[in-house]
């Protein structure tokens, strides 16, 4: 499977990828995107099986990316990994079609709980 990790922070992308491995998801291909616009493009070109996206990014936010994907007909599984985990954001994310929202700081266990239903 292929996972697209979108975050404007290279450091945070590294942390997300490291946590994926720690959670036991180390056999998957990982593609990185620097913002929502880049993620939107790479969903088209890379055809990932899952998108893990930050919310707050320049150029295009994660929620804007998700809405653009759904508007274009893409149903790629999409989850947020973000520093903000309020009820308001969770409901906004769910309404836009996100499967889950993992709040930073996160643990490998939180990743596994969110990803297991998607990646098995």
């Amino acid at each position: 499977m292929k996972i697209l990790v979108a975050d404007d922070s290279r450091v945070m992308r590294q942390i997300v990828i490291r946590t994926l491995r720690q959670a036991g998801y180390d056999g998957h291909d990982v593609v990185e995107a620097e913002n929502g616009r880049d993620a939107l493009d790479k969903v088209g070109s890379e055809q990932p099986d899952l998108v893990l996206s930050d919310w707050n990014m320049p150029e295009m936010t994660g929620i804007e990316c998700l809405r653009a994907l759904r508007a274009s007909g893409s149903d790629v599984p999409f989850g947020f990994v973000t520093s903000e985990g309020s009820d308001e954001m969770r409901s906004t994310a769910a309404a836009a079609g996100a499967l889950f929202l993992i709040a930073k700081p996160f643990t490998p266990e939180a990743f596994d709980a969110a990803l297991a239903p998607v990646l098995g």
Partner: protein
Amino acid sequence: MSAPTGPTTGPSISELLDADVVRSIADDVWLAMVGEDEVLLPLPGPAPEHPLSAWVEVVGPWNGAVVLTCDRATAEELTRCVLRANPPEHVVDEDVEDAFGELANVLGGGVKSLLPGPSALGLPEVGPTPSAAPASDTCRVDAQWRGQSLTISVQGATPASSHTERNEVPL
């Protein structure tokens, strides 16, 4: 640099959270991002000789910023830990700006989750320490990490030039 900006018309931060709450958020961030054995000691230390700050702005019923400040060398050491650089290697300015900013970003997310909403969090910025806010609208945590001073200041907006419009990311 930009400082936390905009008028504060709502409640002061002391009405919304206290230092113990901020310390608890920081403890979680340190464990998850800096390292499982890394702890923040709740002890004030000497002011940093070459201070560097990272911060995120909060815009909503409470306006202000969450500011993380320490010596530049401490920020570099934090960056090596966040990157899990093994063996410890030289980190470039871009790494420090990214990792140090992300620490402030995640601290800010934790603080924002406890504030009345709807609020928006800005993108992290790194630079010289922003102007202090009045003590009445500041929640400050002094700590030490690996023997080095570090402060986390949740501080109300000051009447400096505004960058919030550029950075604000709405729901």
